[in-house]
C-alpha cells in the first residue's frame, strides 16, 4: 500500500490532477488598469499593472532585449507602448546595452524604463559568491553599463542570476546598491533568479532590501506552485514582480511550449505578476504580444490546450536528482538520462557517446540486478533506459561522429 501511495504521488506530480489550482487564481480586475496607446495611427487598449512599491505603471508585457541587436525592432516596441527594456551587463558581451543606447538616444528619459543586471563572480556549483565579488567591482560594472546605455541612471538594477539565499543578503552587493542609489545611478534595486526561485524569493522578501524580483515562472515548472506562493508573499510585501521564461523558449525552434499565447496568458492570470519580459525577435512576435496585452482572457480552447500540455509526462529527465544514491551499482543516473536525451531528443550520438564513455561505467551495467530499486520521480523505467543508452559504448566512434 505504501509503495502504491508513493507511486501515485509521484505520478500525480506530472499529471493535471496533481496540478492543484492550475487556473484557480484571485481576481485580477482590481489590480490593473487599461490605458489607450496610439502607435502608428492604431489605437490599442493595453492592460497596465503597477510594479509594487516602485509605483511604475507598466504594460503587462515588456521587452527582454537579450536576443536581438535589431534597433528598429526595439524602436517599434517602444513606439507601440512597451515601456521597459530588459538587458544585462553581460548580454552580447555588452553590445546589447550599446544597441539599446543607440535606440533611446534622443528620446525623453521619462518615456521609457531600463532594467539592467550586474553579475559578480560565483562558484557555479554552489551558487555562492567567490573572491572578486566586491562592491567596487559591482559599481565598476554598473558604470560601464550606464556608459554603454548612454544614460545617467537605470530604473531597475538587478543582482543577476541568484540561486542561493546567502547571495540575497550578500553585503558587498547591498553596499553597492546603497551607494548607487545615493549617487542617483539607480532608482530601484532588484534581484533576478531562474534557479531555486522559491528560496531566493522568500529570502528577498525577508531581507526588505529589494524593490523588484525578476523570476522564471511558467506552467511547466515542476515547482510552479511554490514559485507562485513565494511571489504572492513578496507581492504582498510590496515587491514588484517581473516574470521571465514565461514561454520557456517558445520563440525558439523547436519551441518548448506549444501555444505561446496561452502560456503568456497563463502567467498573467496571476495578479501578483506585474509584468513579463519576453524575448521576441520579430515584428510578428511583437504583434502577438501586443494582442495579448489587450486581452488577457484565456479562452476555453487555450485552457484545454494548456491542461493537456501540463499533464504530459516529461519525455526526458527533469534533473531532480532524487534518484542519486538509490542504485546499488551507484550509477550516475542523471548523467545517463542526459545521454539518453542526447540520443533521442538532440539525435546527437557523438555527444551521447562522449558522455557515456567519460562516466567510467563498469563493464556490466545493471547485469546483476533482477530488480531495480531506483524510483524515478516522474516514473521513468530507469533500468530500461540505462541498458539502452549504454549500448552506445560499443558503437565505433567513427560511426557516430
Amino acid at each position: 500500500m505504501g509503495k502504491k501511495m508513493i507511486d501515485r504521488r509521484n505520478f500525480m506530480k506530472s499529471t493535471l490532477a496533481g496540478l492543484g489550482g492550475f487556473f484557480v487564481l484571485p481576481s485580477i480586475d482590481k489590480k490593473q488598469e487599461i490605458k489607450i496607446v496610439e502607435a502608428k495611427g492604431k489605437e490599442r487598449k493595453l492592460v497596465y499593472r503597477t510594479l509594487g512599491k516602485t509605483g511604475l505603471k507598466l504594460p503587462v508585457i515588456n521587452m527582454g532585449v537579450m536576443l536581438t541587436d535589431n534597433p528598429n525592432l526595439i524602436r517599434a516596441a517602444l513606439d507601440s507602448g512597451i515601456l521597459l527594456l530588459d538587458t544585462a551587463y553581460g548580454y552580447m558581451g555588452g553590445r546589447n546595452e550599446e544597441v539599446i543606447g543607440e535606440v533611446i538616444k534622443g528620446r525623453p528619459r521619462e518615456s521609457y524604463f531600463i532594467g539592467s543586471k550586474v553579475n559578480l563572480p560565483q562558484n557555479r556549483t554552489t551558487g555562492l559568491y567567490i573572491e572578486g565579488a566586491t562592491t567596487e567591482e559591482f559599481l565598476k560594472r554598473l558604470d560601464l553599463s550606464l556608459k554603454r546605455l548612454g544614460i545617467d541612471y537605470v530604473d531597475i538594477l538587478y543582482q543577476h542570476g541568484v540561486t542561493r539565499k546567502e547571495s540575497v543578503a550578500f553585503e558587498p552587493v547591498l553596499k553597492a546598491f546603497d551607494k548607487a542609489k545615493k549617487d542617483g545611478k539607480i532608482r530601484f534595486t532588484g534581484i533576478s533568479t531562474h534557479g531555486n526561485e522559491p528560496e531566493v524569493i522568500h529570502a528577498v522578501t525577508d531581507s526588505k532590501a529589494y524593490d523588484v524580483i525578476l523570476t522564471a515562472y511558467n506552467f511547466k515548472q515542476k515547482h510552479y506552485a511554490e514559485v507562485r506562493n513565494a511571489i504572492a508573499k513578496a507581492s504582498q510585501a510590496g515587491i514588484g514582480i517581473v516574470g521571465m521564461k514565461a514561454i520557456r523558449g517558445g520563440y525558439q525552434q523547436p519551441p518548448t511550449v506549444r501555444n505561446i499565447t496561452a502560456s503568456l496568458k497563463w502567467i498573467l492570470q496571476d495578479p501578483n505578476v506585474h509584468t513579463v519580459v519576453t524575448g521576441f525577435t520579430t515584428f510578428e512576435q511583437m504583434e502577438i504580444d501586443l494582442s495579448i496585452m489587450e486581452d488577457l482572457t484565456l479562452t476555453e480552447p487555450e485552457k484545454i490546450e494548456l491542461q493537456k500540455e501540463a499533464s504530459l509526462p516529461g519525455l526526458y529527465c527533469q534533473g531532480c536528482r532524487q534518484c542519486l544514491g538509490q542504485c546499488v551499482q551507484n550509477l550516475p543516473i542523471p548523467d545517463l538520462m542526459r545521454a539518453y536525451m542526447y540520443i533521442y531528443d538532440y539525435r546527437n550520438l557523438s555527444m551521447a557517446q562522449d558522455l557515456v564513455v567519460s562516466l567510467g561505467l563498469p563493464f556490466e551495467v545493471c547485469g546483476d540486478c533482477s530488480f531495480c530499486p531506483v524510483k524515478c520521480s516522474i516514473g521513468f523505467k530507469v533500468k530500461e533506459k540505462i541498458q539502452d543508452v549504454v549500448k552506445i559504448r560499443g558503437v565505433p566512434s567513427e560511426f557516430v561522429a
Binding site: G64, M66, L67, T68, D69, N72, L73, A76, A88, G90, Y91, M92, G93, R95, K117, N119, P121, R124, T125, E131, G132, H160, G161, T163, S192, H194, G195, M244, G249, Q252, Q253, G279, T281, T282, F283, E284, Q285, G319, R338, M341, Y342, I343, Y344, Y346, R347, N348, L349, S350, M351, Q353, D354, L355, E384, K385, D388, K391, S397, F399, V400, A401
Partner: protein, 284 residues
C-alpha cells in the same frame, strides 16, 4: 524497441552532415593546477552558468560547454570556457555577436581578441572564453589560449562569404552572422552583415545565401507581400523594398544570393555598394 530506435538514430546521423565530436581535453600548464572538477553544461543547463545570456547561445545551436578553472601558488585564477556549437557558422555567429570592433585582435585560432583579463577566440565549432583573476600579466592568457587552441585541433577559417563584402568603408571586425529572423522577419532566415562608415554616414550591408533559386524567389515574394507589393512572378534582378520598419532597402537577387543595403538614404551610394558587392561575389 529502443535498441531499434537507437540503430535507426545512428543511421539517420550517418546520413546527415553532422559535425564530428571534438574530443577536446583541457591542457596542462606548468605552475597551474586544475581547481575543482571540469564542469559540463548542455543546452538545458547553460542557464546555470551564464544566466539569461544563454538564450542567445541556444539560438546559435549551442551543444556543450566545458569549463576548467586553474589556480597557481599565488592564488591567481584562470577560467577556460569552451563552448561547442553545431556548426562553424554558429560558432562564428555567437562570437561575432559578442566581439567588439575596438578590442585588441590576435591570430589565435581563426581569430581572437583580448581586453583586460579576458581573451576570447574562435576555432572551428568552438568559441573559447578565457578569464583571468589576479594574473600577473596578460601574456598568461595568451599562453593558455594558444595551448587550448592546439588541443582543439583544426582551427578552420572564417565563413568564405565574408570575403565578398566590399572593403571600402567597412568597419574592421564588424561582420556578423545572424542565424535567423533577419531584420525581425521570420521569413528571412540567416544573413551575414557588416557595418560601414563613409564620411560620417553609417550603414549596413548584408547577404543571404540560399539552397537554390526557388528559395530566393520565395523570400522575395514574401518580402514584397509584407509591404503590400506582391508580384506574380519574381526574377533575378534588383528590388527596392519600402520596409515599414527599416525604410527603403535595395536588394539584388542573383543565383543563390540576395544582398542589400540598410540604413542608407542616398540612392546613389546604395547603388554603388550593391554593384561593388556583386563584383566581389563574382570573384568567389
Amino acid at each position: 524497441m529502443r535498441a531499434a530506435c537507437l540503430a535507426i538514430g545512428i543511421f539517420v546521423l550517418l546520413w546527415g552532415a553532422g559535425i564530428g565530436a571534438k574530443d577536446f581535453q583541457f591542457p596542462e600548464f606548468t605552475g597551474w593546477k586544475l581547481s575543482g572538477e571540469i564542469q559540463t553544461f548542455d543546452p538545458k543547463t547553460l542557464y546555470e552558468y551564464i544566466d539569461g545570456a544563454a538564450d542567445l547561445y541556444l539560438a546559435y545551436d549551442f551543444e556543450e560547454l566545458k569549463v576548467a578553472e586553474y589556480q597557481n601558488d599565488r592564488k591567481a585564477n584562470v577560467t577556460v570556457d569552451v563552448y561547442r556549437h553545431k556548426t562553424p557558422y554558429d560558432a562564428f555567429g555567437i562570437y561575432s555577436q559578442e566581439r567588439l570592433p575596438s578590442a585588441n585582435y590576435n591570430d589565435i585560432g581563426i581569430q581572437g581578441y583580448s581586453e583586460k583579463e579576458i581573451l576570447n577566440f574562435l576555432a572551428g565549432t568552438s568559441y573559447v572564453k578565457i578569464t583571468g583573476f589576479k594574473i600577473e600579466s596578460e601574456d598568461i592568457l595568451t599562453s593558455f589560449a594558444k595551448k587550448v587552441a592546439e588541443n582543439l585541433g583544426e582551427k578552420g577559417s572564417l565563413p568564405s562569404l565574408l570575403a565578398s563584402f566590399p572593403r571600402e568603408g567597412k568597419v574592421k571586425n564588424s561582420e556578423k552572422y545572424v542565424t535567423k529572423n533577419f531584420l525581425g522577419y521570420s521569413f528571412l532566415h540567416s544573413a551575414f552583415t557588416a557595418d560601414y562608415e563613409i564620411t560620417g554616414r553609417k550603414f549596413k550591408l548584408f547577404i543571404m545565401e540560399f539552397g537554390d533559386k526557388s528559395e530566393c524567389a520565395n523570400m522575395i515574394q514574401k518580402y514584397l507581400e509584407q509591404t503590400g507589393k506582391r508580384r506574380e512572378v519574381v526574377t533575378e534582378t534588383g528590388y527596392t523594398i519600402s520596409d515599414p520598419h527599416h525604410g527603403p532597402i535595395d536588394l539584388i537577387w542573383r543565383g543563390n544570393y540576395i544582398w542589400g543595403v540598410l540604413n542608407m538614404d542616398n540612392p546613389d551610394l546604395r547603388l554603388k555598394y550593391l554593384k561593388l558587392f556583386g563584383e566581389e561575389l563574382k570573384k568567389k
